[in-house]
Symmetry: C2
Subunit: 495 residues, 2 copies
């Protein structure tokens, strides 16, 4: 057997182990009673250790070297490239450091859970300092192996092909136009008719029924996945068995429904990955940003469009058994495109969301590059919020303690949310050009051409291309924030 074939066999096993971990995590969040927590943690720790051991197996390095001289087609070469990248991320960090980091970040996360409720940033400070210190060591180790700067090395795990310099360029551009645009949008909204609130309560069974219907209309096949509920919505499972979750609020039907649209975008990506490369690195989603672009394509570009509200308003009325002005397409659209300066990222609208992300990106990069100390975080947070969002939190609970990411050791991920939003806008504009009257299609619920086009241009490509190549093939251009600006302007100012 040649080295490349050995690699495929080896990475297939790794993928199966990853699938098992994914199913157990879904079960953890959706099904598991509290008594199972301890055993589950041990099960996951064992599986992750097995996964890691297999990835850093010295034979993999030998096979990767040998396979470089073998005759491979384009997909196989891309597969090899992705195998190499995965291995570098796993093998460049000493096992002892990985383990120490895992302990320290678990501890920090658990302290944070109570410290956040108590608004006690000081309690979390020493733990977060330890997390950042070890993360910097991890970043340094990966940086050396990848030949890039430390923050770049962390970013590479989630958004390969993207550099901090390019993000600076893009985010600086957004930071230049966004504060002014937010102000204009708010003034514009103030002049327009105010949305009427939707009067609940909304029974969970009806919300579920509505959610399933939306998913089906978008092409989700329940023979290949499930919809359940969990505290935070997510999309898990495996490519032929995608497990979506949402959270139903009895007083706010839009919240759960928009989360379902978002997760359905993620799900359609997973369901559409190239089946002939299933369980190979090249058959997996391109990046966190591209994944987010698919969820935001469905939620933001499609789901919050005026046309989608026209199509979905009768469904809301019928399934929730509601009528009246509040349930008109126009009112639903106004509710779904409401812009506010707000403190909490996860509740932010699509206009202010990038401001939240840019703040986090700048701060986390500064922490990794040792330009910002943990005790300076609250002040830097307030300053950044003032500049970017135009609102300042009264406390740390709704400030720098609101997100789990840093507390659990996740650095380099935040930018992908906004990169995804930009890709989504760029893709939707390309779809508009390709199909012409997209709004007319959406108004009658003709989503299949759009979803099929995403399938052809994005989902079925897996990791065959780099992100910029992928976008260029799909839209004629590499990532360009101008599409996003145009989208916001069109939806929030020109209408």
């Amino acid at each position: 057997m040649d080295a490349y074939q050995r690699l495929e066999d080896h990475f297939e096993e790794l993928s199966r182990l990853g699938e098992v971990i994914s199913v157990l995590r879904w079960d953890d969040a959706v099904m598991m009673p509290p008594g199972g927590a301890e055993a589950r943690a041990e099960q996951l720790a064992l599986l992750k250790r097995m996964h890691h051991e297999r990835l850093v197996d010295p034979r993999v390095a030998d096979w990767l070297d040998a396979a470089a001289d073998e005759e491979l087609d384009g997909w196989q070469q891309a597969n090899l490239r992705e195998m190499r990248r995965r291995r570098i991320h796993a093998a460049s960090v000493p096992a002892e450091l990985v383990e120490r980091f895992s302990r320290v970040s678990s501890k920090c996360e658990s302290v944070w859970r109570t410290a956040r409720s108590d608004d006690d940033f000081e309690r979390v400070t020493p733990h977060l300092r330890r997390v950042v210190k070890l993360k910097r060591q991890i970043a340094a180790a990966k940086a050396e192996a990848l030949g890039v700067e430390p923050y770049h090395a962390l970013l590479d795990l989630f958004e390969p092909g993207m550099s901090p310099e390019r993000i600076d360029e893009i985010f600086d551009e957004v930071a230049r136009f966004l504060p002014e645009l937010i102000e204009e949008v708010l003034q514009n909204q103030a002049r327009q008719q105010q949305p009427k609130p939707l009067d609940g309560p909304f029974r969970v069974e009806r919300q579920q029924k509505l959610a399933r219907r939306m998913m089906e209309e978008l092409g989700f096949d329940f023979d290949y996945g499930r919809l359940d509920t969990s505290h935070h919505p997510f999309c898990g499972g495996v490519p032929d068995d995608v497990r979506l979750t949402t959270h139903y609020d009895e007083d706010d039907v839009l919240r759960g429904q928009m989360a379902v649209l978002h997760e359905t975008g993620h799900a359609l990506y997973n369901l559409g990955l190239p089946s002939q490369w299933r369980n190979q690195p090249v058959g997996m989603p391109r990046s966190a940003g591209v994944h987010e672009s698919q969820s935001l394509f469905v939620e933001m570009q499609l789901g919050r469009s005026r046309a989608f509200s026209r199509w979905s308003a009768p469904l809301y009325q019928e399934i929730l058994d509601k009528s009246g002005d509040a349930w008109s397409a126009d009112n639903l659209y106004r509710l779904k495109t409401r812009v506010r300066r707000s403190l909490i990222r996860v509740d932010a609208d699509e206009v202010t969301y990038p401001a939240h992300v840019i703040l986090r990106y700048r701060l986390e990069r500064a922490m990794i590059e040792d330009r910002l100390q943990i005790e300076e975080l609250p002040a830097a947070w307030a300053e950044g919020m003032e500049e970017l969002v135009g609102i300042v939190p009264d406390d740390d609970r709704d400030g720098c303690m609101q997100d789990i990411h840093w507390m659990s050791g996740l650095f380099g991920y935040f930018p992908t949310y906004t990169l995804g939003a930009m890709m989504a806008a760029q893709l939707f504009e390309a779809a508009r050009e390709k199909f012409g009257e997209v709004d007319e299609m959406v108004e009658v619920g003709e989503f299949a051409p759009l979803i099929d086009w995403l399938g052809e241009t994005i989902h079925s490509k897996g990791c065959r291309l780099q992100t910029d190549e992928l976008l260029e093939e799909a839209t004629g251009s590499v990532l360009d924030p101008e599409y996003f600006r145009r989208h916001l302007k069109r939806r929030y100012l020109d209408a």
Copy 2:
């Protein structure tokens, strides 16, 4: 580190892997959409291969040898004994044979699924012949390692300490008194008041509510487990996260409820295993027969008693919103103790059930010992049914093709159902002696003393003792079929 400690670490990992397999199997039966089947089969195959590889690891043999000379307490010695047994079952069979058997039995099971519907035994014959042929090779390999006869070696996996000679003795005794006892019971029933049918349909949500209430009253803590639905009821999960399932029939409320009682008996055993030996072989259930004794203690001894019907009748009435004669304690009791000569084992009552099991035990032992050829099975089945149950099937679908066991390669398991029934009767009689007025306790729903006593005498013992020692400590006697005969006589003839 000493050899024994290495073994504990190693078997802990094995147990964690086993837990993961158990959770995935539960998910498979309860949650998984059909599209996930292929990936799940691959995940399970990988995990089982990893489990097997770790169990046959040559270092385990060395550690087992070395640990024999180390100073160990009683629990540790019992642990070592169970480790040795597990390893013999895994290591004595050549890997190539295990794999061939797995393929051949999967094929046979899948042919059987359609052949059974078509009542086409000939179609399944060549496949079952292959299964039995390989199973005989497996039995021979294990027999050599264990120093026992081939069928004994198969039995040892499920019911260690039990020999075919002892089963012969016990089952021959039962076969002597049972046909006559069945006849007497039927005549007795014919003279008594006939039970009134329960008029449905019964909404699944109400059946669920009733089932949860029963489980809670029996001491099941939903912080440590779940109740769901699946095609066939089962009890899975892990000791702190026990996953029960049942199947609700809208027209037959007793069916689902009795299944829940049965599975709750299994669940309480798992929940009560010794926590300080969790994830060690000695901390696991003693045997298939002992496990079945716990389910049958709750379902048959307790759940079908007159006292339990007196206690539960008001709950049935209240939660199902029913009233009238059919819902009286007496009528429910009559329904739950109805005896019939029937063709299908899984639907059989507790009086005729052993007859079904004895038939299967005799036939499967004859197949393994090459005294019965596959093509002779239908005739032997009819003859045995006539002799033991007193009724003969018209076709093979409801005859020798009704059970999945042989088709999927499971031999040596059937006897444990009836061994469990006997242990349950023996345990209940011991409880009656210990607590005196057990019926009075059950009538007022005072189950805790009984369940706690099972916890002390059975659940918390894990595999510390051999089955006969366990029974002798709990009841003052090794397994004795006389308890079972007395139970049947008391419930079905003397009342």
